[in-house]
Subunit: 315 residues, 2 copies
């Protein structure tokens, strides 16, 4: 029984939404969590004017929501300060139960924003770290893999490395790998020598990975992309693969992945999970990959967990 | 006798030019190397159309060159592929003598481009590294400090760490520190929380330095600039100093500076040499700073070294 107040005889169907910075995706799930339909729009939160979220939501998913017994969970940046409403971060360690308690109800009992997670590093400044949207993918992938403890990585603009123990996220670290790749390959001096139209080359990528294992001097290693191009020691079309290897290699170098912890779970697009799988393999670390299905599985796991919706007169 | 063919009874005066990517500077030196006049223009090589270098040079320094006994040396990016003419890199180890042999004569015996230096790393790919313009500053600073062996750093868009032994540059490494600071503070997600108008704050900067000494995970540490701002744990105006500390700290972390080698010589603008001096002090490493005068001293040292100008019929 997903929502405690759901007294309808009919089992609940779900409209699940992942509203990120640059994209808006939705899925209609039946009461067993099977995906009936999917939709995707290039309508991330940055493209929505303040106060315009309810309107966009109604345009894109109003038809699905027209059946009154359907419920909706929305994860991702829609719950950020720049989103629909700010859903305060749920602090780690956290399981699905804590996440459920921190839902922000837009229509009590009917539509809720899933909060992100925060954690605090054991450093001098007690530096905070945050995620929004990845948390549901993590629990989704765990569900799909039937695991309750793992090291996970979610590559992307801001990669997340995550520790899960007994189905609770105990801590995580963000790496600016994807954003720095984009900045360097488009706007830095490296952009002058590399050709971004080059197809991904696994062998060159692994040379970058190997280089990063030998050196912790990333700010220096990166300049090799300039000089290898300048001296025509590497083709312009191969340089993006090399740069990608240097950056992902540096991210991996700083991970202490124990083989006892089981395969590392990699969650993301096919292009990115391929790169991380290759890199981990190169370092003799086993991995499992998960794609978009993790999002819907995670949102359904959250819905199925059972949590109290506030009564409709709660502010 | 600076140039072998200089048979004039009158001692030679010098027009010294440092033509970089974004600026053009010149100095008129007397035969003793004293600076008589200086000029600076925002007319770096990127602003000069192909084929337009001789014209800009004549406009800016034609009056100085109108006295026929004056000679001119031009260092910096003017000798790059995108510059006036490409002066092939002089390979390290190199002293002033080798540099003199690699001059590229634009007007034989009268105007020459100083080549940059190249070196090769001891890594699997034998990665090349390059500099243009810094080499004359290095020899200038050594001259001013009366030293012939040292570890030097030239902070900037692309910082250079340099080893000099017996007045010869034995090797160097480039770090993309300055360029990455600019990209992150202007174009990344960090730009949303930090205020670039904030004045430099030494205490905050040193917190960044300290953070980088404890962690070699730069791609992760950088994200702290986002979250410390997001949780209002650090003022927006202080964040640029913190980011600068993280990046310069990471650059310093990878240096093996021996105390026996004497103070590290820091060459650059006042704002940057201050930061490196503070950071090195924090790590108990002594340093000496040098500014723009190192350029003119280096070019004069090169001119005074004595090298053969080609005869005027050399192509």
């Amino acid at each position: 029984m997903p929502f405690e107040h759901n007294n309808a005889a009919q089992p609940t169907e779900w409209v699940m939404v992942d509203w990120g910075t640059s994209s808006l995706r939705g899925a209609l799930l039946n009461a067993q969590g099977e995906v009936l339909q999917e939709r995707a729009f290039a309508q991330g939160i940055l493209s929505v004017p303040a106060g315009g979220f309810a309107k966009v939501f109604a345009e894109r998913f109003g038809d699905w929501m027209s059946q009154s017994q359907r419920r909706c969970l929305i994860s991702g940046m829609a719950g950020s300060r720049q989103g629909w409403q700010e859903a305060t971060y749920c602090p780690c360690p956290a399981g699905l139960a804590e996440l459920g308690q921190h839902l922000l109800w837009l229509q009590p009992g009917r539509i809720a924003l899933v909060p992100g997670l925060s954690c605090v590093a054991q450093d001098a400044l007690h530096t905070p770290d945050v995620m929004r949207g990845e948390e549901v993918q993590i629990w989704g992938a765990l569900q799909l893999a039937k695991r309750d403890s793992a090291t996970l990585v979610l590559p992307g603009t801001h990669s997340k490395w995550v520790q899960v123990k007994d189905a609770r996220i105990t801590g995580f670290n963000t790496y600016m790998t994807g954003e720095i790749f984009a900045l360097l390959s488009q706007h830095s001096i490296l952009a002058k020598t590399l050709d971004l139209n080059g197809a991904f080359e696994a062998e060159i990528f692994l040379q970058g990975i190997a280089h990063s294992q030998q050196s912790s001097r990333l700010l220096h290693s990166l300049f090799a992309v300039r000089t290898l191009g300048l001296f025509e020691r590497m083709r312009a079309a191969a340089l993006p693969s090399y740069l990608s290897g240097l950056l992902i290699g540096d991210e991996l170098r700083s991970q202490a992945v124990s083989a006892d912890a089981g395969p590392v779970m990699v969650i993301g697009s096919e292009a990115l999970t391929l790169r991380y799988t290759l890199a981990l393999q190169h370092l003799n670390i086993a991995s499992q990959s998960f794609g978009a299905q993790a999002t819907w599985a995670g949102l359904f796991a959250l819905a199925s967990k059972g949590f109290a919706a506030p009564s409709t007169d709660t502010p």
